[in-house]
Amino acid sequence: MPTTITMPQLGETVTEGTVAQWLKKVGDTVEKYEPFVEVSTDKVNAEVPSPVSGTIREFIVKEGETVPTGAPIAIIDEIGAASVAAPAHTPSPSEQVADHARAVPSSYGAGGSMEAIRQGASEPVPGGNVGVPPASSNGSPSNGAYANGNGAAVTIPRGVSPAVRRLAREHNIDVTRVRGTGNNGRVTANDIVAASTAGPSAAAAVAISSDNAEYVARQSAPQTPASAPRPAPSGKASYANPILGETIPLTQARKIIAQRMVESKHTAPHAWTMIECDVTNVWKWRAKEKDAFERDYGVKLTLLPFFIRAVVESLGKFPLMNSRFTDEGILVNKDVNVGIAIGLETNLIVPVIRHADTLSIKGIALAAGALIEKARRGKLGADDLSAGTFTVNNTGANGSLMSAPIINGGQAGIITMETIVKRPVVTADDSFAIRSMMNICLSLDHRVVDGFVASGFLNDIRKRLESMTIGGSL
């Protein structure tokens, strides 16, 4: 059969060769290993022996022509293919030695093996398996898998260490809002850990908007990976996706919530009271303003800012509700910073509207809107989550009629806005009317506040809400 001969590589760095002279003619016979061409390269000149025995069929390259290594140069018709079958058993190196030593008689030496001489520990003898390189096994190379980073792109301010970045991501904290205690005000890993334990809501955290369905739907949309606590791998129980019979591992956030709840309940003796409030007028006022408001400010106008406005005004009249119990005395806060409880999929947070008493309904609506937006994007900073003096919880968004919330962060009380229900009520002149009625509930620290103050506070709120009418200024 015809065999193509290629230009050999004569020398380690050689890439081409020149046919200097054909030593045979077309039609000549040639023996295996017989030189049939002279090749020159820039390193050596050499005669190339034929790899097969046969007849020269064709010279592909002319004398004097240069071709790259591996290019075909001639065709030889091989006589009687001398095929070498792969040996049925590939002997190991030591077996090969033994075989051939036996096969070839020699008068050299005393013909023995070193084994006879060796005493003591023997060295490992390569042998045994065919084609498998001998001796002790080592593992396949390890390329040192990179430690996992969570990969999501986040804009990071300069000077933030990898540990800080990771912890901030895990705890949904905006590093730029954290006060640093390291050198030159550097935010340290410990600062992030400390910031993450500030301010989770004590109450059952729910959505803020009174447009319940819409807000709830938005809330349950998945968070971006950078902001949400790492979702559990599928098949494993998580707070957001509990599986019957499975133990949900505690996240850092849940540990802290648990800790805070216990602390609050064990420290402050909780008392509870409620009133009901006619919000028909407020409701109408809000309904009239909401479209323009959303158009002008890009923020939804819910009933919450109206409620908070009433609350902060009443806090001005009942300062004990804006205080905290300490061993040195009852600290009456100068500032009114209202926290609004927000329920995320696996976490409670209470961002704070600072100086809420200085804000109009519109101001409160915008501030609350901004905080909610930040919460959704996981961008709340430590400043957003700290310094609260009183907490409001919109438990009504989920249809709750009454709640007994747990006081947040050592404050004097926590107030809820329950669901609004249209009821038939008896009016002042003893007739029936259909009114929008809303319960307002209050848990209070009985060390600081007694029923007298608490009821006064709630009644004051009710009066303010019931006197709000269409046409008032937001």
């Binding site: 060295e123 390569p126 990898p162 550097r186």
Partner: protein, 327 residues
């Protein structure tokens, strides 16, 4: 448990090896009649004879090369290079031959050889009796490099080195020879090669070091305790292979790493540790990795100010530890 210094620990270990294994022998300059220039092999010539305690010609390449041949033929030689500064003529035999014997013969031949040598400065040894050489050799696959600095570690690791089937370079910091004392367990024991030791636990920062520096680092860390700093000090003990597990666990805990070594900074052992920690513990780090190392000059001078400038003082270590904890 006996209390002894590092010289005694080396001596006792070598003595036990000679008693327990007929294949063991010691060779080097002045190891016989003189008993080694630090008296480590004092009495050995009388006890074991000149075939086993060989006063070699003044020729480092053949001290190691002949030992390699002995090891290939089944003996267990322990070669000594009198000072690490003299090891360079033997570089060809150590790196080109000993390290590659098993590899190039694919296991047909092995080289169970120990090369012991005193290294390090702070003893007014000047330019040629003070160098550190670990960086030259720890790069080489096929070698193992050890640098323990306490008597108990020395006995355990030197025993392990003698019993190891592969070539081991055993480095003894000469400044610790008589200045470091400690308890040493009786009888035969080994410490696994490739395991570091947490000599002092802590939480604010991790210090990784070896040799004489370990003792200084411990001193510095103790003194910082009073100021409320809790510094973890890890003694590497083994340079190749090196203990990744212990280092990463510590950095995961403290988030801050300071590497201290007397050897020149550029391309020193600290460079490899820094690279590994940056690759594998990036998200644990709350501060850049710091290296406190010898200056990048050929050697420390004979004059005291030149030696002191080269050697890392305990005060400098304290400052570095404090700064890192505060970062």
């Amino acid at each position: 448990m006996a209390v002894m210094n590092n010289v005694d620990a080396v001596r006792e270990t070598l003595h036990d090896a000679l008693v327990n294994d007929d294949r063991t022998l010691i060779m080097g300059e002045d190891v016989g009649a003189r008993g080694n220039v630090f008296l480590i092999t004092k009495g050995f010539l009388e006890e074991f004879g000149p075939e086993r305690i060989i006063d070699t010609p003044l020729a480092e390449a053949s001290i190691v090369g002949v030992a390699i041949g002995m090891a290939m033929e089944g003996l267990r030689p322990i070669a000594e290079i009198q000072f690490a500064d003299f090891i360079y003529p033997a570089f060809n035999q150590i790196v080109g031959e000993a390290a590659k014997t098993r590899y190039r013969s694919n296991g047909d031949y092995t080289c169970p050889l120990v090369i012991r040598t005193p290294y390090g400065g702070g003893v007014r040894g000047a330019l040629s009796h003070s160098v550190s050489i670990e960086a030259l050799f720890y790069h080489v696959p096929g070698l193992k490099i050890l640098a323990p600095s306490t008597p108990a570690d020395i006995k355990g690791l030197l025993t392990a080195a003698i019993e190891d089937p592969d070539p081991v370079l055993f480095l003894e910091h000469k400044k610790t020879y008589r200045s470091v004392k400690g308890e040493v367990p009786e009888g035969h024991y080994t410490i696994p090669i490739g395991k570091a030791d947490i000599k002092k636990p802590g939480t604010h920062a991790t210090v990784v070091s070896y040799g004489y520096n370990v003792h200084q680092a411990l001193d510095a860390a103790q003194r910082l305790e009073k100021d409320g700093y809790s510094i973890e000090v890890i003694d590497l003990r083994s340079i190749r292979p090196m203990d990744k597990t212990t280092i990463l666990a510590s950095v995961g805990k403290t988030r801050k790493l300071l590497i201290i070594h007397e050897d020149n900074k550029f391309g020193g052992v600290g460079a490899e540790i820094s690279a590994m920690v940056a690759e594998e513990a990036f998200f644990d780090l709350d501060a850049p990795i710091r290296r406190l190392c010898g200056p990048d000059v050929p050697a420390m001078g004979y004059a005291l100010p030149l030696e002191e400038e080269f050697m890392i003082s305990t005060d400098r270590m304290m400052r570095a530890m404090r700064e890192l904890a505060e970062f």
